[in-house]
Symmetry: C2
Subunit: 482 residues, 2 copies
């Protein structure tokens, strides 16, 4: 593909070059203009090429987007049949235009968004049409003088009120598009009514063409490779959980390893940024998901709002990981002996935290209650306890050892090598920070666990059957700690 295109590019550049040689003897000005044009053409071709390349990558990364485009083309081609086929055209005439418009405006990437727009459009058109006809009838009774005044005032009032309703958050979330269509239809009906006698006919036409357009959209969007907003949200939350686990893993590994960092690790560490930035996407998907009918494993009344809570708790973790990430690049680092001492404990705590996150990700992916999440949480809490204990024992070994120099033998016996720095608190500061952030992250993962458990309760997840035999289950006391 790239070869083919580059040869085409060469061809474009070569051919004008070839002709310019023929033109050269004609005139200098023409030659200059030609060269200028050639330059412009080159830049334009290059820019268009860049956009196409970009588009190609997008299409390869998510072929469903390409399918969506084909679906839009298909729906439009089908609705065009209303024009091309005489019998249908004779029924609807110029009003068939509304069907085309509906398809263009209403067809969205996800099923939920399409449903949201379809339902809003139909209901708003019906309400506004009925209201418009009603006011038109009232105005008709008031005589020719008053009629335009009544119609004008009603347009002003209803348009203003509907516009204002779009500022109310609860209305905006569900009926923003409906409010716009209400204004549109009401203005058109009350304004057209002034001229067109067959007002009921018009309203009927508009409603039926819109019904045809919306049902076509819903059919096409649901029958050909449907993209469900609910599934997307589900997938996003699951993915974000894994990214968070990877980031945590990457950060802790990066901090405690001795060699320089690899590109792979760096990339892995950046996963938390996706979590930080996915709030808007989550909210819009949850908004659309509630319009979707039962599909796959999701009921009509699936608790989509709980996904937002899980997303918020994940972001809560991500804030901490962001701070943790900045510790890594901190200039002051703890002495290597101390780092080695804490390395194992920290890695253990982080790997148990990651285990919990991965288990939660699996719970969400499979939509089955995890049989061993409590064990994993207990393991995490136990590892964090150990880490805190290690920190607690730090001053009685290392600090004294380094500051008074008396107990260095005792410290050595405990596996911590003495160090000769006079002010260790500033030296251990980054380490203490990392450890305390690990503790904080574990606490926040507890919040994620609770949110996922609440989801499992609300969505009535079934218990997983393939529960592994419960080994070394800690006591309940540990589970409730932290």
């Amino acid at each position: 593909m790239a070869n083919k295109a580059s040869s085409r590019l060469e061809w474009r550049i070569n051919v004008p070059g070839g002709t310019s040689k023929v033109l050269e003897p004609e005139s200098g000005a023409v030659g200059k203009i030609w060269v200028g044009l050639k330059g412009c053409m080159g830049i334009i071709v290059w820019k268009v090429w860049r956009v196409l390349e970009n588009a190609w990558h997008i299409g390869v990364a998510d072929p469903r987007k390409v399918i969506h485009c084909i679906k839009v083309g298909l729906a439009l081609s089908i609705v065009s049949l209303f024009y091309y086929m005489r019998p249908l055209y004779d029924d609807f005439g110029g009003n068939a235009m509304w069907a085309v418009m509906t398809v263009v405006v209403v067809f969205e990437y996800t099923v939920g968004a399409t449903f949201y727009k379809c339902i809003n459009r139909v209901i708003a058109t019906f309400l506004a049409g009925a209201l418009g006809v009603g006011i038109h009838l009232v105005a008709e009774q008031s005589g020719d003088q008053l009629k335009p005044i009544i119609l004008g005032i009603s347009v002003f009032l209803f348009a203003s009120a509907a516009t204002f309703s779009r500022f109310i958050p609860s209305v905006k979330a569900r009926f923003d598009y409906g409010a716009m269509i209400f204004i549109l239809t009401f203005s058109l009906v009350s304004v057209s009514g002034y001229r067109v006698v067959e007002l009921f006919e018009l309203a009927h036409m508009r409603l039926s063409t819109i019904a045809i357009g919306t049902s076509l959209c819903i059919l096409v969007t649901m029958l050909f490779c449907p993209v469900w907003a609910g599934c997307e949200l589900h997938h996003l939350i699951h993915q974000n959980m894994e990214k968070l686990a990877d980031s945590l893993d990457g950060c802790v590994t990066e901090y405690f390893k001795e060699n320089g960092s690899e590109e792979d690790l760096k990339k892995k560490m950046q996963g938390y940024k996706c979590v930080l930035n996915s709030k808007a996407a989550e909210e819009s998907m949850a908004n659309f998901a509630r319009w979707e009918p039962t599909h796959g494993r999701f009921n009509f009344r699936h608790p989509w709002k709980q996904y937002l809570k899980i997303g918020a708790s994940l972001r809560n973790c991500a804030y901490c990981i962001e701070t943790l990430n900045s510790c890594i690049s901190s200039e002051i680092q703890a002495p290597p002996c101390l780092r080695k001492h804490f390395s194992n404990k920290c890695m253990k705590a982080s790997s148990y935290s990651i285990n919990v996150l991965k288990e939660l990700a699996i719970t969400i992916m499979k939509m089955k209650k995890s049989s061993n999440i409590d064990i994993k949480v207990a393991e995490m809490n136990f590892a964090v306890e150990e880490l805190v204990d290690a920190l607690k024992s730090l001053p009685t070994t290392h600090f004294i050892a380094t500051t008074t120099g008396e107990e260095s033998t005792k410290a050595k016996a405990e596996g911590v090598e003495g160090s000769e720095h006079p002010s260790p608190i500033i030296k251990v500061l980054p380490l203490v920070k990392v450890v305390s952030l690990m503790v904080e992250i574990a606490t926040r993962i507890g919040g994620v666990v609770n949110a996922v458990k609440e989801l499992a309760r609300l969505a009535e997840f079934k218990a997983a059957k393939d529960g592994k035999p419960k080994q070394n289950q800690p006591t309940d006391k540990l589970v409730s700690d932290h």
Copy 2:
């Protein structure tokens, strides 16, 4: 207002109650239905009342939203004149509908958004119209058999391609609406062309009605209390900076004060959450701002993108403040004597950091280079240095004092009271965390300073004239630290 409404509410409930007594002897079933209806009515009235109350609060909080609604009503009323006035109607006929539609669809809250939609609509309509007419002419040459096939394929291809272009981020940011209008117009022209003979006439009509609609929108939106997206963005960034300063102030005060927290302080502390959540708003405003013409203090090519960078650096600070906030609610707290020792230094560092943030907020608000930002940054860095020094000196005084118990007199002489706890590291952990977060926050405020300086350079801010006399300016070395 509320009194009046509640009396009206009572009236509604009282009157049916009064009449039900009269109806009672008639029949039991009718009575039950009546009671049921009464209940439903009550609930509906209550719900509508809640929404109205909500709307009232929104209107009081930002009267510009009410003005926007009046503007929409006004624009629609003006465009309706095309129908009511015979001469204008005779010129445009049914096509005047497009002007009404344009006003409804294009009129947005900010001037930038209205411009974005207007320009997109006009250009896309023109391009799609021209292309549609061109393809129609080509199809005309191919005979009646091939014509519908050519038209159908062209609709399919162009609709798919334009839909796909909406997935490319650079296109989506600037031309999303244009792509939709392109598909709409192209489909309508190529489909109508099959029937309507006067295709050029139609294209001309649609273009001129859209031009009327868009110019009316632009006039109304710019002449009556315009809301500039650029100003809003400017204001949002300025406000977020102040909120961040307040949060930092609130958190540090809350942590170090002895008494219980007040409601006021709690509310103040939550300001950073606005900063965390304002990414989407900032991006959409920056997107719209670049469509706006020169207004007030902002040129056409004002560096709006730099505001996004400032916003990102503010969010960077907010992540740290979020972590700081969680330290406050931590169960384990440092011993009071230690907290007192650090209280002053921490408060000093935080107040200097707040000074820097407030100075930056003033720089942005006034759009004038601050004459003493460097001094304030130096003061902040100096205070942070002192804080770090205090932390450095901690083990040689307090730790020894508490763990070996030998040097408690020396510690007392230095103003730190001895404590009898055996493992101080866990006790000082929250304090060390707070201090290290303060240091980190100061570093990140440095990032905000750089971003604001870059903005001042790009937007060519003038130097402030009312620079206060430079007192106690620290050396340059300190400024460059941290």
